[in-house]
């Protein structure tokens, strides 16, 4: 408990809020890497995931790739990409590593979000004369949102936690205080910065969860609760 108290003292001491390397600056750096990586991953992964989900093409290897990519060692990936792209491009290299980390849960969310829609729903949309684009934008994407937002939550959590590693290649962020504190045996500093990372993760997770409730159509939202499942089974019985 002493260590926790020391960490809080470190966190709220005046020197954390001034000059180069202040806590707000580290948080801004950390959030910067996180948001850029997640946005780029969304732009890349969601269209691909919807394409696969909508057409059903390539879903065999997408499962393999997303599964395998989750096992990539992130620290090694960052160092490798810095080596490949060169030290002057290490910002892009680190963001690329974070993007690669964020893609699998988003891709899997988009693909699985479409795949779990009952075939009969899509078939009835088509039989009513909806175009493929209408089916995608008015049926598949809205109905897939709960799973996509779940994927987004996973991606954000993974990236905000892993962004601590970019400090190993001199890019700052909250990881800087953590890895500086360990060899100096300043565990108040290490724990203090780790607490901020954990808080950021919780705040971001809550924000994405809120956004997902806001973004998901009311009907889908209602459909994801238990009483609807009861209605499903009663339907099955009458059938």
């Amino acid at each position: 408990m002493d260590l926790l108290r020391d960490a809080l003292v470190w966190l709220f001491s005046a020197e954390q809020f001034q000059g180069d390397g202040s806590l707000p600056q580290r948080i801004a750096e950390h959030l910067g890497y996180t948001s850029v990586a997640v946005v780029v991953a969304i732009v890349l992964a969601l269209p691909l995931g919807y394409f696969i989900g909508h057409t059903g093409k390539g879903h065999v290897w997408i499962v393999g790739i997303t599964g395998g990519a989750r096992a990539l060692p992130s620290f090694g990936l960052i160092l490798l990409l810095v080596l490949v792209l060169g030290v002057s491009q290490r910002q892009s290299a680190a963001i690329l590593a974070l993007v690669l980390l964020a893609i699998p849960p988003l891709l899997a969310g988009a693909y699985a979000g479409v795949a779990q829609i009952p075939r009969s729903v899509i078939d009835s949309a088509r039989s009513q004369g909806m175009t493929e684009a209408q089916i995608l934008f008015q049926v598949e994407i809205p109905l897939s949102l709960p799973l996509v937002m779940g994927g987004l939550r996973g991606a954000v959590l993974q990236v905000v936690a892993t962004a601590t590693l970019v400090a190993y290649v001199g890019l700052g962020g909250l990881g800087y205080d953590i890895i500086q504190g360990i060899p100096l045996r300043r565990f108040d500093q290490t724990l203090g910065a780790a607490i901020v990372v954990a808080l950021l993760a919780l705040v971001l997770d809550a924000a994405v969860a809120g956004a997902s409730r806001w973004a998901t159509p009311r009907g889908v939202l209602l459909g994801s609760f238990g009483d609807v499942r009861a209605r499903d089974s009663s339907l099955a019985r009458t059938r």
Binding site: S88, A167, V169, G170, Y176, Q180
Partner: protein, 290 residues
């Protein structure tokens, strides 16, 4: 009953004398077998292998106990005499036995180490080769500004010092540079890409270990530290027990021949050419006329 007791007594005597005799035998026998140890650090293992091959060349039988690990693991072995010879580093070893020692210059550190070493361990003559924190610049930067010592940096402005994040807070970091040499720098915690950042021109000065093979690979210039900003850590053979005097005649010439540049070159053969410690050691001994 009486005879039994007598027999037991005799057996005891026989056992005791046997022990005494084997004790003698072990003493004279071990004069031929020297146990050489090393850390689990490739550069340390190369030095230990050089010791081992030199001793073999001098007629000793050598048992290699390499890659024993950290100081907590192998120093008790050395103290007890289970290991006879071990390549060490003056500054780091001094810090282990005397964490509050103030000495930083090579000779002071060696003197302090000699008195700090526990009974049963002797430091042989140290080598000029070091494996310690050092400040390095690129060859072009050194030539353009006539840099040889850290103090020469004082005339320059806009210097960026790079190293692991903790360097920012170390006594030999930016504050120490200003205090000891009057050098003003800004700091960049470049961590694992420090050498690359120096070579790319992002940094002007980088904190690199003086035994790092990349010093030779990229032609870096290690700046001299006459004021002892860094804790000097020279390669030093540590011998256990009564071995010191006997082994010194074989090991001292090796310590004299091993330089910092030479150590970097040895390390480079391991990291770049992927040669084994045995091959590197044999080549070095031959090239240096042993």
């Amino acid at each position: 009953m009486k005879s039994l007791r007598k027999t037991t007594g005799l057996t005891g005597l026989a056992l005791a004398s046997a022990l005494v005799f084997t004790g003698c035998a072990a003493d004279s026998g071990s004069a031929e077998t020297v146990v050489v140890g090393s850390q689990a650090y490739y550069s340390n293992e190369i030095i230990a292998e050089i010791y081992a091959q030199a001793l073999e060349g001098a007629g000793y039988t050598v048992e290699r106990q390499f890659q024993i690990g950290q100081r907590d693991a192998y120093l008790p072995e050395l103290e007890s005499g289970a290991v006879d010879l071990f390549p060490e580093y003056t500054g780091n070893l001094l810090q282990f036995y005397a964490p509050d020692a103030q000495a930083t210059k090579a000779d002071d550190v060696y003197a302090a180490l000699e008195s700090a070493l526990p009974e049963g361990m002797t430091a042989l003559a140290m080598s000029s080769a070091t494996d310690q924190d050092s400040y390095n610049v690129t060859a072009e930067f050194a030539a353009a500004n006539a840099l040889e010592s850290i103090g020469d940096l004082a005339a320059l402005e806009g210097l960026v010092l790079g190293g692991n994040p903790e360097l920012e807070e170390r006594p030999y970091g930016p504050d120490g540079l200003l205090e000891t040499y009057g050098v003003t720098v800004s700091f960049s915690g470049t961590g694992d890409v420090t050498v690359d950042a120096l070579v790319a021109g992002e940094l002007s000065v980088a904190n690199v270990y003086s035994g790092d093979p990349r010093i030779a690979e990229y032609g870096l210039v290690t700046l001299a530290d006459p004021e002892g900003l860094f804790l000097a850590s020279n390669v030093v053979p540590i011998a256990s027990g009564d071995w010191a005097i006997e082994l010194a005649s074989v090991i001292d010439p090796i310590s004299a021949a091993l330089t910092s540049e030479g150590l970097v070159a040895l390390n480079l053969q391991s990291t770049k050419d992927q040669l084994s410690a045995a091959v590197i050691a044999a080549t070095w001994l031959e090239a240096n006329g042993f």
